[in-house]
Symmetry: C2
Subunit: 239 residues, 2 copies
């Protein structure tokens, strides 16, 4: 019988933020796939480190897979095909494979991109997703502030890919979450100042991880480069 | 010593989707607060039912608190003040109080609204938030589809309060999550059809709960009233 392909969210960092389901799936899995790339190597090793604190992984096959951070479609697709081929190989051998992901496998995870490639090679594949706690939930929890209440609308901008649409989002939405904000901090501060929203934002770096840091005086970050694991939340109604 | 006020997310429904932290906080708490209102009574009892499946609550004080679903600010504020007064009474008596919430306490939970009222009565209060798995993560997990990949931007619309801004969100964002869509289903279908997006949406009712249902032929829901716990996700890039 072919194995099951699991996407397992290990949450934002604190091993206590794994779900019971993530733990039971990891315990039962034969192999754990850890995504790696030059830019996001830290994501993969963070995810593995978190999982290993919650579950004994010593008897698992740990499989690192490289995923380039590139806009070159050919390079991207060939890495995904290669990964899918290795994964379906394990599944065909009857092994349950858990692909671990920081945060949530359905939000900005390589797992999501892999699904079509795995399905192409193994159309009858059995896939199960174990959702995880997101970094932005952990960030808001760290400051005891709701992201949104009652009728407030929320926008999520993945800033690793730039800030297109940020200003429109800040005008039209009550709360704007800017993920992976580290490389564009100055640009964000500039937009916030122009819209008079710099007093309505907070930044959480390494939410729920050792070294978690909260910055509420956003302007103090001008010229700074926050940690890679940083989320900025703008809540227009105040917080 | 005064107790700690916890906001505990019990996730979308499956008791296996509680985090280890939620379980340890619930185990240690003296009292469990369950929010109730005419409209959302089911939320409170759902949350309690889920928590009770994961943790033995038989020795806890279970405290139901009424929160009206109203736009009348006075009524709303007086209910919150009353709740805050009961909660701070328990905290002053040295009791740890866990306010449970379906999904995540930082997203559309009464817990978020209560914080300022509790702080006003007990400025030195110790608050801890335990984030939870959201219904939209569970909905996407149910269909093995990512909500967003790479540079895709996400909008969240809480439809219990109407659909203002929906069309703009559908134009400007890659993925739009419409929460509590049940009362406005026809209006949503109408907008999706107008924008040619009705083939790009799926609805999940009771995600991860018994009776979970997935509908991909959105037009088939015209004239229907889905379950109260229903989330619609539009992913323009397809899914």
């Amino acid at each position: 019988m072919t194995g099951t392909f699991y996407g397992v969210g290990v949450g934002p960092g604190d091993p206590e933020l794994l779900t019971l389901k993530a733990i039971s799936v990891l315990k039962a899995a034969h192999a754990v796939v850890v995504p790696k790339s030059k830019d996001t190597a830290s994501c993969g090793s963070q995810a593995l480190g978190i999982a290993a604190k919650a579950v004994d992984l010593s008897d698992k096959e740990i499989v690192e897979m490289a995923f380039p951070m590139t806009k070159d479609r050919d390079e991207l697709f060939s890495a995904r095909k290669e990964a899918a081929s290795r994964i379906t190989g394990m599944l065909r051998a009857g092994r349950d494979v858990a692909f671990i992901t920081l945060g949530d496998p359905v939000l900005y995870s390589t797992f999501g991109c892999l699904i079509p490639f795995v399905k192409e090679l193994l159309p009858e594949v059995r896939i199960r997703v174990v959702p995880g706690i997101t970094s932005f939930s952990a960030a808001a929890s760290a400051v005891n502030k709701p992201i949104a209440e009652s009728d407030e609308k929320v926008a999520i901008i993945p800033a690793a890919y730039g800030l297109a649409g940020l200003e429109e989002a800040l005008r039209a939405f009550d709360t704007v979450i800017i993920m992976k904000v580290n490389k564009v901090m100055d640009e964000v501060i500039c937009v916030l100042k122009r819209l008079g929203l710099d007093g309505r934002a907070f930044l959480v770096s390494r939410a729920s991880l050792p070294g978690e840091e909260v910055v509420t005086d956003i302007k103090s970050l001008e010229g700074a480069r926050p940690d890679y694991f940083s989320t900025l939340i703008v809540k227009k109604s105040g917080w």
